[in-house]
Amino acid sequence: MIVKITIDGQAINAREGDTIVDVAAQNGVYIPTLCYTKGKPCLGTCRTCSVNVDGRVMAACTIPVREGMEIDVNGAEITDMRKALVELLFSEGNHNCPSCEKSGRCELQATGYEVDMMVSRFPYRFTPRVVDHASKTIWLERDRCIFCQRCVEFVRDKETDQKIFSIKGRGTQASIEIDVDLANKMSANQVCEASDLCPVGCIIDKTQGFDVPIGKRKFEVKTIRERALEGTHR
């Protein structure tokens, strides 16, 4: 069924049940996302896609469109909220883009550019986080984890369907964990997929280095916004 909604005042016909984030992209309105993966169950963890729906702030990836919805994406206040959420992630973890293998392919970095972030308004916390390099093929760089939960939910052992990645502890004590035995069973292809699924440089494929030169990396040749709008980002 087709429903009529507005996004930033623009009248739009959309298929009922499609999520706001997809409908917006189809109509040329970019909403930043970090945990969202098209076609997969919505995670709703990063909140970076927050928009204003009929006067209430909601995560656009979690909300299906309904008849008559009025959605404000680019109003000043909501735009600043999204920016603040990205800034929170930069100050919570330890993100040093220049030395990161994922630079140029990192969704957090690319989104930082899109929301015009210069520096985090929140104090940088410099929390010590320990690297886990016990697996043969994966380097788990916890400094960069943003707890999006993509790896936790979507990467499974092919044989047993068990979780390879998991979260330990809660709140500020939470950390991302890797089951070394299961990780060592992962095929090269699966490792590559997991590393690619990670929006930041937390899951690093040990066999791959800085293989693409600066200026030719994923989001350098085409921005995350352009990719999201043409539906090729995720």
Partner: protein, 602 residues
Amino acid sequence: MNKKIQVLLEKYNSDKTRLMDMLWDVQNQQGYISEEAVTSLAEGLNMSPLDIRETLSFYHFFKDRPFGQHKIYLCNTVIAKMGNYEEVRATLEQETNTSFGNVDDSGTFGLGDANCIGLSDQEPAMMVDHVVFTKLTAEKVINVISQLKQGKTAVEIANPEGADSKYSAYINAMVAENIRTESKVMFKAGRDYKAIQKACLDKHPEQVIMTITESNLKGRGGAGFPTGLKWKMGHDAEGAEKYVICNADEGEPGTFKDRVLLSHSPKDVLLGMIAAAYAIGSRHGILYLRAEYWYLKDYLQQQIQDFRDEGLLGKQILGTAFEFDIRIQMGAGAYVCGDETALIESCEGKRGTPRVKPPYPIQQGYLGMPTSVNNVETLAIASRIVEEGSAWFSAMGTDESTGTRLLSVSGDCDKPGIYEIEWGTTLNEVLSMIGAVNAKYVQISGPAGDSLSVSKDGERKFCYSDLSCNGSLMVFDNTRDILGIVRDYTEFFVEESCGICVPCRAGGVDLQHKMERIIDGRGCQQDLDEIIQWSKLLKGTSRCGLGTAAPNPILATLDKFPEIYQEKLIEQKGPLLPSFNMEEAMSAHDLAYKHLVQEDAE
């Protein structure tokens, strides 16, 4: 595989949704959940060991290393700290020969902090191995610890008469009920449950729903969702199974009414669950009981058994085709599980992480099936409405907020305890009822709720359109340090954040740090302005009620008592915030230089 674990797996049919129960069984048998136990459980449930740890590490009371033969948790809420808390705490450390967060050398005592354990009317209070000790004094602590050292169990000490844990004498040996008002709706004595249920089953489920709808009963957990509408949606929802869950995860600091309802009128609650089940067409009920109320477990189990024996639960109830039974699910210490979707996740053996909504539980809840989650008080009231009719109920209270509500009263007043008030009662009326003479500040609905100034809000009414109190009412007189209370509440939300979403997990910490800066007298107006802006971010973008409520203590007290904030602010001179310490910042550079350059060179 470990033999004991094998027995456990058989007991629960290797059903991973029962992981919470299995972890409790392991801990109760072995004192903690060992690496070996985790590996065996993982093997038996086809999960990775780390997947087991996801659940295990989420809950405050699960321990993956030895935490003493006796696990002692002292409640550390604002209310607990109003009395002789510090003395009790110091005595505990002295007598057990260890410090909080640790175990003594002999491995006998583990000391831990606990958030509200539902005993705010009799603090200081502590949990020891699933039982509680209230109104603690140094002498009482010395006595309890020395008896434990002599080899007595906590149960033997708390319950010297040896009352059976299946009966109320056992509970009454430990805690006082403190019901201070005459019964209006709740706590009615001498009810004929069989007759009431018979009358209920004689009606069509839709008639039951209609009665509840007409009574205008709203959920007493806090959100105030119309109960009749929830049941109607549950009735209309499609599902191979449907579930009724009683939310007895009463974690909001200052609340203890559900504890008293469950100990004084448990069958009211069970009957409410049965009515809900009949209304929506459910065969399975779960009573989710917080671990802090472990001492109610056997008693409630017996109450359920009584109902089974009388034919009010089980198959072919009262000779009809209606079938329904209830199991108790123990929590393990997580405030966030009060959120109905987090509670459902916990019932499924997982981390208590609130789900993304929609879908709502009434559409897809426990095991993906339509689930009606109702508060203890809501269910108890529903059982009374089913008995007396909607007109009887809606004659009480106001037009929009019908009936009564229970208040759990604590803090600076003569008579803390449980009060049943009709909606429409004013704050001043309540204060006079409870004997609060010098009250200045009242926190209603716990830290997640609202802060009231007695001089400004005294004539406001308790009702859904004004003071929609969830039952917690904490009173503070003019000698109390309001900012200190706010600091405590803000820290509480950081501690209890599940961490699933960014604003609550990360933003809560920044809010806490800013608040500390203000309290320490290092903050300026800009800091205060940023607190307000960041609060908006948390309120707007957090995934569940915990994150959206986390800034409430600050915002509400700032609104009611702006002067106490203003007094703390210092003037900003120049472009830097006054809290910026140049010397400290430079010393960090010196330290880094020493580590990275000088030591390398050497």
